[in-house]
């Protein structure tokens, strides 16, 4: 089966594929980072005793989580120019869509992580004179993060895989680039096997990296 495996095609299209990979990685890193920040804010609001705020966040989270990601991408692509009146590049419209979408998922993971920290830890922090935000920042969140890391990693890997959806707004991510080459040179087996291998390597190294960090910082 591999007798006719054409490595030449791969080598020649490497720069092109690397361009796609850069977009995929850029989108993943920015969306995961932005999603984590926004998700943390949403989780804290959701857990706050201010009812209208926490209910608004709950509605946002439940709404976005019931939507297919591709629909959210379409929305922001058509919505943002209309709302702001200026045209936004495809890249930024999908980035915002990803961040808003991921934040909904991350906020649920973070909320569960925060709730998993024993109530007594907060009491102890407050009893020392820390303010509630300080108790959250120095005592609760570091412990919550430790509990959340495996699920956050899984969610981020899904995010990496989902970047391939950006082809719907005309962006060329890694998979889309590979598809273009595969069609152009009629070498689907070479390209799609390579894509699978690369995804495998990226995900595997990401999970090793996180494990290493956990041990390094004794999380």
């Amino acid at each position: 089966m591999f007798a006719g495996f054409d490595f030449d095609v791969l080598i020649k299209s490497l720069p092109f594929l690397w361009l796609g990979m850069q977009l995929t990685l850029q989108l993943t890193v920015l969306a995961v980072g932005g999603g984590l920040i926004l998700g943390t804010v949403l989780a804290v609001i959701r857990l706050s005793p201010i009812k209208p705020l926490s209910m608004a966040v709950a509605a946002y989270v439940n709404f976005l989580r019931s939507m297919p990601l591709i629909l959210v991408i379409f929305w922001f692509y058509t919505l943002i120019p209309r709302v702001t009146g200026t045209s936004v590049s495809s890249f930024y419209s999908v980035l915002i869509a990803f961040i808003m979408f991921e934040a909904a998922y991350y906020s649920e993971i973070i909320r569960a992580g925060i709730s998993s920290v024993r109530r007594g830890q907060i009491s102890a922090a407050l009893a020392l004179g820390l303010t509630p935000p300080q108790a959250m920042r120095y005592v609760v969140l570091p412990q919550a993060v430790r509990n959340m890391i495996p699920v956050l990693l899984t969610q981020s890997i899904i995010m990496l895989q989902d970047t391939s959806l950006v082809y719907v707004v005309g962006l060329r991510d890694f998979l889309t680039s590979a598809e273009i080459v595969a069609g152009r040179d009629n070498r689907p087996i070479e390209l799609y096997l390579t894509v699978a291998l690369v995804f495998l390597v990226v995900c595997f190294s990401a999970s090793r990296l996180v494990n290493l960090m956990r041990r390094r910082y004794s999380l």
């Binding site: 004179g129 820390l130 005592v139």
Partner: protein, 242 residues
């Protein structure tokens, strides 16, 4: 120093505290005992505002705890508290546990906080364990670090909420030793405990609670000699049986 006046607390229709009054003078050691569910822990947590109360007033060093305008974090920083389950921060070493609030609340610089931590670890006999995480320490060691963590804030009073009831018997003594020394040094202390040996040794007064009320508040000699209430007598005979 600590003044609890006619404090009541309801959880919906269930009354946890019923018109409790208690005064603790500077340098006084008061032991609070009673059957489980009698409200002792709730009462002591009301003193630093960890538990809100429904009625009455509590003042610490003249500052009203229940008052909305009171800066609770500032007041709590001056009252040390030790919990039944230690509640050391598991992601920090013993030293970091003792340094955190010194730096974030009292704004002490790194060197000053570290010096204080080392000095206290020395005092509780754990100088060699400064770099260990709570999970690497025994229960008794964890509770001693928790006491040091509270003392690092130079508190005007210390609250202990059943500090030895989560400990194995052989570790109780090492914690009580630290507390006895603290009491002899003149610290103002409110201690919820069933350790009557500790009460006999250093308490000035013993308070007995049952079903949310303070049934008896008597000098130690009187309490152990002839408790006036029948319920206190029953309680004492039960816990001193063995």
């Amino acid at each position: 120093m600590i003044e609890v006046k006619n404090v009541s607390k309801w959880y919906s229709s269930f009354r946890v505290l019923d018109n409790c009054s208690l005064a603790i003078a500077k340098g006084e050691v008061v032991v609070i005992c009673g059957p489980s569910g009698s409200g002792k822990s709730t009462l002591i947590k009301c003193i630093n505002g960890l538990e809100p109360f429904t009625q009455g007033s509590i003042a610490v060093d003249g500052i009203s705890v229940g008052d909305r305008s009171t800066n609770l974090p500032k007041l709590r920083a001056r009252i040390g508290m030790v919990f039944q389950n230690f509640e050391l921060f598991p992601h920090m070493t013993a030293r970091q546990n003792i340094m955190l609030a010194q730096q974030k609340v009292l704004n002490r610089d790194n060197a000053a906080a570290d010096r204080k931590a080392q000095e206290l670890l020395d005092r509780i006999g754990l100088a060699d364990h400064a770099g260990k995480y709570p999970a690497q320490l025994s229960g008794g060691q964890q509770q001693r670090v928790a006491i040091a963590r509270a003392l690092a804030m130079d508190p005007i009073a210390m609250l202990f909420d059943e500090p030895t009831s989560a400990l194995d018997p052989e570790m109780i003594t090492e914690v009580l030793d630290v507390m006895v020394r603290l009491a002899l040094d003149g610290m103002t202390m409110a201690v919820v405990t069933h350790e009557m040996g500790f009460a006999r040794k250093v308490a000035h007064r013993v308070v007995f609670m049952d079903q949310g009320t303070i049934v008896e508040d008597a000098p130690k000699e009187e309490f152990f000699g002839t408790p006036r209430s029948e319920r206190a007598q029953q309680f004492l005979s039960k816990i001193l049986q063995h």
